[in-house]
């Protein structure tokens, strides 16, 4: 039955239409011949926070870029509400691991970049940008330049810029990796409420990370990537009430389950 589903494009699309984002049967190799993935399947349901974990270098960033249409898979497709994604779109916004801001623009101007492209008037754009900055907790810092901000504030600017584009999906590539632990924890605690506040049209989030605690803290569904080429070696559903307590027993049971999937990667002999 599963086989037929993948072969039959129409059925595949019909199935994908039930999800916010759905990646089906993805294979990918880099131009130098390095095969990163084999048959990856990932679904993001309505208002779902999905996390992808795996060791460094396994292909998490590559996968996010495929989900966003930045890279074309060799096989398989990515669907947004059943519509194939063939190029990057403001409906799916990527947040980089290396925090990206434009040093010649103030925080407000950085955020307004997202709005310039959607034919809105200048006042409206500014209002929406201020609103986005407020959502990430940067009200009062609109006129600072990125260089005058800490790493955590810069990442908040990047997130506000992403929010201002009113995307349906957020793709986050280890967004806390370049922050110190205290700042990261602060932002982590905020992020869920920011993303799923009623003010955003956001329908789903994919977070990539190698930090298992972070992932259990945030996600509804966790995909574990391992081996070379990478495949989904496990999928863990997290059904704990938020805010979650990393010291609770259930939390640690889930952590243990994840650790078990992440034994040293098997390299497929070619």
């Amino acid at each position: 039955m599963d086989e037929d589903l993948i072969k039959d494009n129409a059925m595949q699309r019909a199935r994908a239409a039930q999800y916010v984002l759905s990646a089906v049967g993805i294979d990918f190799s880099y131009e130098n011949g390095y095969k990163v993935f084999e048959n990856i399947n990932i679904d993001v349901g309505q208002n779902e926070f999905v996390a992808i974990v795996g060791p460094s270098g396994i292909g998490k960033s590559t996968l996010l870029r495929i989900l966003g249409g930045f890279l074309k898979p060799d096989r398989g497709s990515v669907y947004l509400f059943g519509k194939p994604i063939i190029r990057p779109t403001p409906d799916i916004i990527l947040i980089h691991q290396s925090i990206v801001t434009f040093p010649w623009l103030t925080a407000l101007e950085n955020v307004m970049l997202s709005l310039k492209v959607r034919n809105v008037s200048d006042e409206e754009a500014e209002k929406a940008a201020r609103n986005a900055l407020e959502m990430v907790g940067l009200q009062g810092f609109e006129d600072l330049y990125p260089k005058e901000m800490s790493g955590g504030m810069r990442q908040r600017v990047a997130i506000a810029r992403a929010l201002a584009a009113s995307p349906l999906v957020f793709l986050m590539d280890e967004p806390f990796a370049h922050l110190d632990e205290l700042t990261a924890e602060g932002l982590r605690q905020d992020i869920y409420n920011i993303l799923f506040s009623p003010d955003t049209p956001l329908k789903g989030v994919v977070l990539v990370s190698h930090n298992l605690t972070e992932v259990v803290e945030l996600a509804d569904e966790i995909y574990v990537l391992n081996n070379v080429p990478a495949t989904v070696v496990g999928k863990v559903h997290v059904d704990l009430p938020r805010p979650r307590n990393p010291r609770s027993e259930e939390f640690n049971q889930i952590l243990d389950a994840l650790y078990n999937y992440l034994t040293p990667p098997k390299v497929k002999k070619l």
């Binding site: 930045f70 434009f102 040093p103 623009l105 310039k116 492209v117």
Partner: protein, 541 residues
């Protein structure tokens, strides 16, 4: 057949002159750079001098140099030295500053290793400093070669008053071929020069690739770059980074502030340090002294009555200079617009880039003064019927354009290549259109590169004007000549043997250009450093 041999030899002589002088620049630059990083006083003198000389086009003080070499040394040697000097000053600044920056940015850890092993001066040079400078030298060789070839026609044959001086080379041979109207040989001559230049460019590209892949320190490597990452591409990008004009300035300003590691030495070590410091101060003082001496010498040799004439003519010189700045402005505007469209296109399309950039490099090294007369001869009637009185102006501006376009194009192209890959992803992600990309991201993000390209473009535009504004008998029976222009003024005065006036003109010109460069270029560079460093917009990238 004999003529072809002669032409080949002449081409080789010219190429040898350019390449030989480049080698001399490289070699001397190493020692000067070492002296500069060892001694503050010498460093300040050295860098300021380079900055001024880099921004004053050599050609403008050529008349003064001419008299010194031709009258004081005289004979074929004096003429050869004058030609060499002109080419040398065209190639040297780039290379010297590049080596200095390289030495200044040798990682602290490497220096500590050297101290730890108590390496001798020569070992340090051979094992650390010199290898470390290769990538930057490689990057600076392209503009140096272009600049060197640019002046061959004017440096090999020149006239002062009724005397014509020449030294063996392609410029001289071409001059006599043109004089005797041997069309076929002229074409062969141009073709052989083209082949030699293409070979040199290919050689440089290879060297550059090798130098960057072998001698670039990994920690400078960008973590991800646009699209797919492979060794070849990384290499090219690194060579781009190596010539980042910002890391250039940032390089020495930053490291000036960093304090050296604590120096705990034995007594004789301290003495050695002191000696090397005194040596570098001494070299600095000697250079300053030489400059002072020659200026004073010149001033004394001018009689009092002459001074009066010089002062009275000054307002006219300033007016002429305004005309020339206007021309430079036009050339710059055209170059800028073309560079931005072409540079962005090439940076985004790797296949077009693979062909386009080497072609532009080869074209830029092929000296326009060599081929302009032929284009002039072929197109004059047609252009004249359209432009009428502006025809000469058109050719002058075109000469300025072809001799200078390359700099701004190349800098901008490198700036785009050096933008973080993430920026391109954000632009794609937000679906930004062409003009909004340009305005909000590409132009600001390449601002430092643009500034350095603009200032090189302005500097070398003067060379084109110097040659174009007054060109007697560019083709038989017709001269290329503008109505007003300081470069023309200097040319005419030199040609009529009025060296004092020519010298005065270049002196005023030099002062204005130096002031301009200090006020404008530096200020813009400061601004660029403060806000427009794209690399700093991406955390840890």
């Amino acid at each position: 057949m004999n003529e072809i041999l002669l032409i080949t030899l002449a081409t080789l002589a010219t190429a040898g002159r350019v390449l030989g002088l480049i080698l001399i620049s490289i070699f001397t630059g190493w020692f000067l750079a070492y002296a500069a990083i060892k001694g503050k006083i010498f460093e300040n003198i050295y860098i300021s001098l380079i900055e001024v000389f880099e921004s004053v086009p050599v050609i403008s003080f050529f008349p003064i140099v001419l008299i010194i070499f031709v009258t004081r040394i005289g004979g074929p040697l004096g003429v050869e030295m004058a030609a060499d000097f002109l080419v040398f000053t065209a190639v040297v600044w780039n290379i010297w500053i590049g080596e200095y920056q390289a030495f200044k940015t040798v990682p602290r850890e490497m220096l500590e290793v050297a101290e730890n092993y108590q390496m001798s001066f020569l070992t340090k040079m051979r094992r650390i400093f010199i290898p470390f400078s290769y990538p930057r030298i490689a990057a600076n060789l392209f503009p140096s070669v272009s600049d060197g070839f640019f002046y061959i026609t004017v440096s090999e044959v020149f006239s002062v008053g009724i005397h014509t001086y020449q030294t063996f080379g392609i410029g001289t041979v071409l001059d006599s071929l043109v004089a005797s109207g041997q069309t076929r040989l002229i074409y062969i001559d141009l073709a052989i020069l083209a082949v030699v230049i293409i070979l040199i460019i290919i050689g440089l590209r290879e060297f550059s690739r090798y130098a960057v892949s072998k001698y670039t320190v990994d920690t400078d490597a960008p973590i991800i770059r646009r699209g797919r990452l492979n060794v070849k591409q990384t290499t090219r990008l690194l060579s781009v980074v190596a010539r980042n004009p910002l890391s250039r300035l940032a390089g020495y300003y930053r490291s000036r502030a960093i304090s050296r590691p604590p120096e705990v030495f034995e007594k004789h070590e301290i003495r050695k340090e002191k000696i090397s410091r005194y040596t570098s101060i001494a070299i600095g003082v000697i250079i300053l002294g030489l400059i002072l001496y020659s200026s004073v010498d010149l001033i004394i040799s001018v009689p009092h009555s002459e001074w009066g004439r010089l002062f009275s003519i000054t307002p006219r010189i300033v007016l002429y200079l305004l005309y020339d700045y206007l021309r430079v402005g036009v050339i710059l505007a055209i170059s800028f617009v073309i560079a931005i469209f072409l540079g962005y296109y090439l940076a985004m399309h790797s296949r077009a880039e693979g062909i386009g950039v080497p072609i532009i490099q080869a074209l830029s090294a092929y000296p326009p003064p060599i081929y302009l007369p032929f284009i002039f001869a072929a197109s004059f009637t047609a252009i004249h019927s359209v432009l009428g009185a502006f025809t000469d102006e058109f050719y002058v501006l075109s000469l300025g354009f072809v001799s200078t376009f390359y700099y701004i194009f190349y800098s901008f192209w490198m700036g785009v290549k050096a933008l973080p890959a993430e920026y391109f992803e954000v632009m794609k992600n937000l679906n930004m259109g062409y003009f909004s990309r340009m305005r909000s991201i590409i132009l600001p993000g390449t601002f430092p590169y643009l500034i350095s390209g603009i200032s090189s473009t302005i500097n070398s535009a003067w060379g084109g004007l110097m040659i174009g504004e007054y060109w007697p008998d560019i083709v038989a029976g017709r001269s290329l000549e503008v109505h007003f222009g300081l470069m023309k003024f200097i040319d005419v005065q030199t040609n009529t043997g009025n060296i004092a006036l020519a010298g005065w003109g270049s002196f005023i010109f030099g002062i204005v250009v130096a002031i301009y460069s200090i006020l404008f270029t530096r200020r813009m560079m400061d601004l660029a450093r403060k806000r427009y460093v794209a690399e700093e917009g991406v955390f840890a990238a």
